[in-house]
């Protein structure tokens, strides 16, 4: 054994301890090990007392604090300056529509079908609307806030404002294209 250990680890065989040829040394508990053990016990006790008896924050308090630090999503649809005219300029831009198509393919296609003909969600290429009313503002709003209890997600939680505008522009551009094989019309007809 190395010198510095020799005072502690004597490696003395304990007399009488022999099991199927296995013997045992009478070495003490290693100091660092014991310190670690005591350390964790003290930590555990303090931790428990603090969180259980001394008013340490509960999980819901921690959540509340955390939620405060998260900025509330600015609801693009709450913009009161938004009118058919303000949107018209953006919706007419071919680049915006092209960008909207990319968003559409990534997020909307599973429910409204690739060509907009509808599948799980309604046909977006006819002139019938359940909520969208066929106006630019109407379409923008329904996409932003969704119809969550009917399975249309509120996209403003997930898409950036530019993406919202773009995808709304794309949907608007589909209006009245009446693709073949689309879902039968749902909702009211708007001319």
């Amino acid at each position: 054994m190395n010198n510095h250990q020799s005072n502690k680890e004597k490696d003395e065989i304990i007399k009488g301890h022999e099991y199927d040829g296995i013997q045992e040394y009478d070495n003490p508990l290693p100091g660092w090990w014991l310190t670690t053990f005591y350390g964790t016990i003290i930590f555990a006790a303090l931790y428990y007392v603090y969180y259980t008896f001394m008013g340490g924050p509960t999980l819901s308090q921690e959540l509340e604090a955390e939620m405060k630090a998260v900025p509330a999503v600015q609801s693009a649809s709450a913009d009161s300056n938004m009118t058919e005219d303000t949107l018209a300029a953006k919706f007419g831009d071919q680049n915006t529509i092209a960008q909207g198509k990319t968003v559409y393919v990534a997020k909307c296609l599973p429910c409204h079908a690739e060509n907009g003909g509808g599948l799980i969600g309604p046909n977006l290429t006819d002139n019938h609307w359940i909520n969208g009313q066929g106006t630019r503002v109407g379409i923008f709003k329904v996409i932003s806030t969704g119809v969550t209890d009917k399975g249309m997600p509120a996209w403003e939680q997930m898409l950036k404002p530019e993406e919202l505008t773009a995808v709304a522009a794309f949907v608007y551009s589909l209006k009245g294209t009446n693709v073949s094989g689309g879902k039968p019309p749902q909702g009211q007809e708007y001319k």
């Binding site: 054994m1 490696d11 065989i13 304990i14 009488g16 301890h17 022999e18 099991y19 199927d20 040829g21 296995i22 013997q23 045992e24 040394y25 009478d26 070495n27 003490p28 508990l29 290693p30 090990w33 014991l34 670690t36 053990f37 964790t40 016990i41 930590f43 555990a44 006790a45 931790y47 428990y48 969180y51 259980t52 509960t58 999980l59 819901s60 921690e62 959540l63 955390e66 939620m67 630090a69 998260v70 900025p71 509330a72 999503v73 600015q74 997020k107 599973p110 429910c111 599948l119 799980i120 969600g121 969550t148 209890d149 009917k150 399975g151 997600p153 939680q157 997930m158 950036k160 879902k183």
Partner: protein
């Protein structure tokens, strides 16, 4: 051989049997594991076959690994070492045989029923009630046989390995019985008496201690016998053995709730789970120290003896896992790691490294001994060692990376207050390459195993079991000796007292944690109370359980900003108060489903269940086409509701007696809606509709939005 001769010899035949069983089942466990790993990397490998779909295959893998591979390894080692440590033959050869064949039968039953979808839906406790009963019975046979052997021992004192065996046998019995208290509904279906948070607590008290008392204590016992024996060195410190043994058995039992951090479990219990896990670190390392320092002066064997290589590496993995375990129990670390593949990596460091390598080391030592020959090839054993180690490292590192990557992606919120990765599937596709690396690791491990099997078969062919018979030598300390002894030494001579003390040590934590939650009403807030599932939803829930959806989906939204943004308000304990079994889950391979109800139209679910990729491109969830073919069992619903009612779920008598009719009505409504939206007609009777009813009910039973 004459009877007298038989009594003078050890029963090694039973050891050979258990060892063979261990090695054969190991192959099944590893192979099924590899297939499951490949299914996650490449979903088409679910093959559209219900019996081998991931949700059913994963429980088969875990059960095979734990109960078939590790179980038989433990029994082989215990039967071999106990006889030698007690200097007597096993108590009763017939009991040994019943234990052996009974256990193998249970495994076969598991291998048949799990793919068929008979399951409790509780991890590592999946097997249905007839099998549960058989396990109890066989475990009692084992216990009688083991304690009978102790009773007729010739060696007065119990060596530390035996302490660990005693703790194992007693605790596993308690865990298994309490966690399996259930009411049968039919031949292969039952509901647990515990619900919601109770069931969660009992299950993870069981689940964690299955790791502790099935995969740790018995293996520590084996380590204490085989390392000093093979290295021919004295155990490093007897005092350390005492302290770490008692600390371990006392502390371990409390740690279960660390699987339930940030859940709806009352916070005092969560905190207990965390702090006891932290305190477990040193006692666990006590075992590692005694294992490794015993080898001082024998390190050269590491170069020449493959057996020692395996054992030392096993102990090293044990040290890693038992450091990582307490770390993952710390709340803030757990917040990141929980539900991710980090946990899967953690488990496999233990299972492949510690249990696997210890069992392999033991096998390489035992086979030549039990067949009286030399190992066929040390070189091949070394090859096995290196391939196996590489496999474990590939597995561990890939899962660690996958877990942390995904955990960070889930919680990433951008400056505008939106999730950076709102599509769950994005966080999945990101780690699919790592799933391939993991599968490669599994392939390495399996290859190593095959090399071992070849080596061991060759060894057995050149050996001769009949010549291996050992006569029992005289013990060091006769039973009758009356030396003056004090303290622990005295206890080591008193097997019954020792066993009772060990039982008390594990009961303290169990009772303190579980007892308060038994009166659930104390925690339930009236204003949050929920209504129970309708009959059809319950039928759907049982399909969810049968298909093993819980292995990929959690139903427990944690109180964290990112989860609230992704899934909604944190889950409450009232939301699962009627859940038998609870389905909080432990792994999110797919998103949390606690609030999925009304998120999507019925048609979305219909299409998603038949082929998830039609609505979520790149999904790795399996297809469930058979749900549109199988009929829902409506008739059994009265029985199911009546069992639930007896367990305290507030169903009216009319609801129970009309269960099937009500269910059919609700099914018709959903089927009509599906049809109106474009799905085929005639779905009302099909399982898919019941499942959709359940999914649409999740999170809709009374919470305020």
């Amino acid at each position: 051989m004459s009877n007298q001769n038989l009594l003078n010899t050890y029963d090694d035949d039973i050891v050979r049997k258990f060892l063979m069983a261990c090695l054969i089942w190991a192959g099944v466990a590893f192979l099924v594991g590899l297939i499951a790993a490949l299914q996650l990397a490449y979903w088409p490998l679910n093959l559209n076959l219900e019996w081998i779909t991931f949700g059913r295959l994963r429980p088969l893998h875990t059960n095979a690994a734990i109960f078939a591979f590790a179980g038989n390894a433990i029994f082989a080692g215990i039967y071999h070492s106990s006889q030698r440590l007690l200097k007597t033959r096993m108590f009763n050869d017939t009991l040994s045989a019943i234990h052996f064949w009974g256990w193998q039968l249970i495994i076969v039953a598991a291998a048949i029923t799990l793919p068929l979808g008979y399951t409790h839906g509780k991890e590592y406790a999946e097997l249905e009630w007839p099998i549960d009963l058989s396990i109890t019975l066989i475990w009692v046979v084992f216990a009688v046989n083991f304690f009978g052997t102790i009773a007729k021992r010739k060696e007065k004192h119990l060596y530390v390995a035996l302490w660990f065996y005693i703790a194992t046998i007693v605790t596993v019995a308690v865990l298994h019985i309490v966690n399996s208290i259930e009411i049968p509904v039919s031949f292969m279906k039952s509901y647990p008496v515990f619900a919601g948070i109770q069931d969660a607590l009992v299950q993870w008290w069981y689940g964690h201690n299955a790791v502790a008392f099935f995969l740790t204590t018995p293996f520590l016992g084996l380590m204490y016998y085989y390392i000093p024996k093979i290295a021919n060195r004295p155990v490093y410190s007897y005092r350390l053995s005492i302290v770490h043994f008692w600390a371990l058995v006392f502390l371990y039992i409390w740690a279960g709730p660390h699987h339930l951090l940030y859940t709806a479990l009352p916070e005092w219990a969560q905190t207990l789970g965390m702090i006891f896990s932290v305190m477990l670190w040193a006692p666990s390392w006590g075992g590692m120290i005694n294992g490794l320092l015993t080898l001082r002066g024998a390190w050269h064997l590491l170069r020449t003896e493959p057996t020692i290589k395996f054992l030392v590496t096993a102990v090293t993995f044990y040290a890693m896992s038992t450091f990582e375990g307490p770390l993952l129990s710390i709340k803030s670390v757990n917040a990141l790691g929980h539900y991710t593949d980090w946990i899967i990596g953690h488990v496999h460091g233990g299972a492949l490294g510690w249990n696997g390598f210890l069992a392999f080391g033991m096998a390489y030592y035992l086979v030549p001994k039990l067949w009286k020959t030399e190992l066929f090839s040390k070189k091949l054993a070394n090859t096995h060692f290196w391939i196996g180690t590489t496999g474990i490292l590939l597995y561990y590192i890939s899962m660690w990376a996958a877990g942390i990557t995904q955990g960070l992606m889930w919680r990433n919120i951008d400056a505008s207050g939106r999730l950076l990765y709102p599509d769950f599937v994005e966080t999945v596709t990101k780690i699919v390459p790592l799933y391939w690396v993991r599968a490669l690791g599994g392939l390495f491990f399996l290859t190593g195993y095959l090399i071992m099997m070849y080596n061991i078969t060759k060894t057995i062919q050149q050996g001769n079991a009949a010549k291996a018979t050992e006569t029992i030598p005289t013990p060091a300390h006769q039973m009758g000796s009356h030396e003056h002894e004090t303290g622990h030494r005295k206890l080591e001579g008193m097997a019954t007292v020792f066993t009772v003390l060990a039982l008390i040590a594990i009961l303290v934590g169990s009772v303190i944690e579980i007892y308060p939650t038994l009166s659930l009403h104390k925690y339930v807030k009236q204003e949050n109370i929920t209504s129970p599932y309708t009959a059809l939803e319950l039928a759907g829930r049982d399909i969810y359980i049968k298909e093993g959806c819980y292995v990929c989906h959690s139903q427990m939204i944690r109180p964290m900003a990112s989860e609230v943004l992704r899934y909604g308000q944190p889950s409450t304990l009232e939301e699962s108060m009627y859940d038998r079994p609870f389905q909080w889950g432990s792994k999110r391979t797919g998103p949390d489903l606690a609030r999925v109800g009304s998120k999507y139209p019925n048609l979305w679910h219909y299409r998603h269940m038949i082929d998830p990729r039609t609505v979520t491109p790149n999904s790795i969830m399996p297809n469930y086409p058979w749900l549109v073919q199988h009929d829902t069992d409506f008739l059994i619903l009265r029985k199911k509701l009546s069992v639930m009612k007896n367990l305290g779920v507030p169903y009216s008598d009319a609801e129970v007696s009309n269960a099937d009719i009500d269910a059919q009505k609700q099914a018709q409504t959903i089927a009509d809606d599906l049809q109106a939206q474009g799905a085929p007609a005639g779905l009302a009777k099909k399982e898919i509709v019941a499942l959709i009813a359940y999914l649409q009910a999740l999170g809709q039973k009374g919470v305020k939005k």
